[in-house]
């Protein structure tokens, strides 16, 4: 049985631009999928296709067990959408906004009223409930937008860059809300440009670029794929760099990099903490004073750069050729080889 959100071969073209070039997704019920990618990668278009806002040119989409193309209105009853821009009416109060959305989800006026009050409390907006949303801060508007998406407690939620433009405090606040939501069993598809956010909130991550999912897996799997752990050393004296380099080269399993100005040396290793202890002992034995040392696993930033960096290399070839079958095959092979 497909997951709560399932997509197969979604294609969407705007004029000459192929916004989606065969997106496949499968989000099991009750989990969070982070859709990660740069601007213009196709994240928003994917969300729009899955939330009935946009009809894909081809492909299949199933949300909450319902075919998105055949039963759009039924899908709408089972989803909540919180967009990149807080879509609330700024001249209406927070309460009026939520009541309106409730009624448009076909709730009775009384039920919509009660639910609005409940959500305003839950999202810490009760004090501002009867002020026009125009007077709200960015974080409050975002919370109101999210509350509007949760009016009917939909089993499947879509959030398109929910924290873009928010300050760190409001981002933390929103993350807490999202975590609560997910612990309640909601399936969530979240798009983000913030690797930290995907790392923090998502069970699975799909990296999107040029309208395609170019990598997927848990955050750990993706990091492992980019390369294993590395030892990073910052030496105290610049003249110790050559010696430290010698020591690290002895433990390293790959190319060693040196940043002269920060006195930082990095080398890929295998062997974990035990190896780190050995490195420290050896450096100490050679009399090298160190400011910092650590075993680093690659961040999602590394993953992202290495993945999209690779695609960027392929790009001239894509542009130089028409999208005929052989070119496509070659591209697939390259991806498979990753």
């Amino acid at each position: 049985m497909p997951g709560a959100i399932y997509a197969e071969g979604l294609v969407k073209t705007f004029g000459d631009v192929k916004a989606l070039d065969g997106v496949d997704l499968d989000v099991p019920e009750g989990t969070v999928l982070g859709l990660l990618g740069p601007n213009g990668a196709g994240k928003t278009t994917t969300v729009r296709c899955l939330t009935t806002l946009l009809r894909p040119d081809s492909g299949k989409a199933v949300v909450a067990g319902l075919d998105v193309l055949r039963h759009p209105n039924e899908v709408r009853r089972s989803i909540g959408l919180s967009g990149q821009f807080a879509a609330v009416d700024e001249y209406l109060t927070g309460r009026e906004n939520l009541q309106m959305v409730g009624q448009l989800y076909q709730m009775k006026a009384k039920a919509a009223k009660a639910r609005a009050a409940e959500l305003l409390d839950q999202f810490d907006l009760a004090d501002a409930a009867d002020r026009p949303a125009k007077t709200y801060s960015g974080g409050m508007r975002r919370r109101l937008d999210l509350a509007a998406a949760l009016v009917v407690s939909p089993p499947v939620m879509f959030m398109d860059e929910p924290t873009t433009g928010l300050d760190p405090r409001n981002r933390q606040l929103l993350w807490e809300v999202i975590k609560q939501l997910v612990s309640g069993g909601t399936t969530l598809l979240l798009t983000t440009q913030y690797l930290e956010e995907a790392d923090h909130l998502a069970h699975d991550i799909a990296v999107v670029d040029h309208g395609k999912v170019i990598a997927r897996g848990t955050s750990d799997q993706l990091k492992a794929r980019t390369g294993g752990e590395r030892v990073e050393v910052v030496v105290h004296e610049r003249e110790h760099i050559p010696t430290a380099r010698e020591v690290l080269a002895g433990f390293g399993k790959g190319e060693l990099t040196v940043e002269e100005h920060t006195r930082k040396l990095t080398v890929p290793v295998t062997g974990g903490a035990k190896l780190l202890a050995e490195v420290i002992r050896e450096l100490d034995a050679r009399g090298i004073e160190i400011d910092d040392i650590g075993l680093r696993r690659p961040t999602l930033d590394d993953v992202f750069l290495s993945l999209t960096g690779h695609v960027a290399e392929v790009k001239p070839e894509e542009n130089g050729e028409t999208a005929d079958a052989p070119a496509k095959d070659r591209k697939h092979k390259k991806e498979a080889a990753q």
Partner: protein
């Protein structure tokens, strides 16, 4: 498994017509609340037609020939049906700007992701505009009376006819807000909707019988003016108000202005509602 849940969840929820009505009312209420919180919009919407009433009455009155007379009083009584009709068409711009603004701010996306009737967002907006148009007409009628406009000066009239005239004017205004809705769905910014909502209204309202007697126009222009849907409503209002300067042309809309006005307005609603709702369904902000 998914086929089973499909069958359960796809069960229809109530009558689509009553749902459409209910949703439209929810959206209309939202727009009315919104308008009440931006009173300056309503005030500016009133200043313009009042200015037209005063300017046309005192500047043009006395130098315009209406039915062979250049009396300022005749022109005043002739003019009001035209000003009323022009005023109701200005709702086109506000309707278009409102919808473009909703698109721009992502509200249309929110609405489109909700399980609501497809036409309700636009219907709600046009109904709210209709309420605003009605208020504007009431104020304008009072101002017209203050500057000396009277009904029944050149023909029979009665309360029912006067109410009927205002009804036709409101229907015309309502029809034009659907043109505005289509414009609002088609442009990128509210500013573009305002200007493109107004520009074409000038030829439509001026190449008509609203401000001058069409019998003095060049024949080809006169034909356009006489068949202009806008002119039909002006002529109908003039006939029903019993005001001077009714067109004596034998063009069908001028001979049967009430029917022509009704048919034209309903046709505009049907055509532009269909186009605007189709646009709404596939809208991409």
């Amino acid at each position: 498994m998914s086929a089973v849940t499909d069958a359960v969840r796809v069960a229809p929820t109530g009558n689509p017509v009553s749902q459409s009505f209910r949703d439209s009312m929810v959206v209309a209420k939202r727009n009315l609340i919104r308008m009440s919180r931006i009173p300056e919009m309503i005030i500016y919407g009133l200043i313009q037609p009042i200015m037209f009433v005063v300017l046309f009455t005192y500047v043009f009155g006395g130098s315009m020939q209406i039915g062979g007379s250049t009396s300022a009083t005749d022109y005043k009584n002739f003019l009001m049906a035209g000003i009323f009709a022009q005023t109701v068409t200005f709702a086109t711009a506000s309707s278009g700007a409102g919808i473009a603004d909703d698109m721009h701010k992502g509200l249309i996306d929110r609405f489109r992701s909700l399980p609501m009737a497809r036409g309700a967002v636009l219907t709600g907006r046009t109904l709210a505009d209709l309420v605003q148009t009605a208020l504007t007409l009431v104020v304008l009628a009072v101002v017209a009376l203050l500057v000396g406009w009277r009904v029944g000066t050149d023909g029979d009239t009665n309360a029912a006819k006067v109410v009927g005239a205002f009804g036709l004017l409101l229907l015309l205004g309502y029809a034009f807000t659907w043109i505005g809705a289509l414009i609002g769905m088609s442009v990128r910014t509210p500013e573009a909707a305002t200007s493109s909502g107004l520009i074409w209204l000038f030829p439509v309202t001026f190449i008509s019988n609203a401000f001058v007697d069409t019998s003095h126009m060049t024949p080809w222009l006169r034909h356009i003016a006489e068949w202009n849907p806008f002119s039909a409503t002006v002529q109908a209002a003039r006939v029903l108000f019993g005001n001077p300067g009714q067109s004596q042309s034998d063009a069908w809309p001028m001979v049967h202005p009430v029917w022509a006005s009704l048919i034209y307005s309903l046709l505009i609603v049907v055509i532009f509602r269909t186009l605007a709702v189709r646009k709404y369904r596939s809208a991409t902000a």
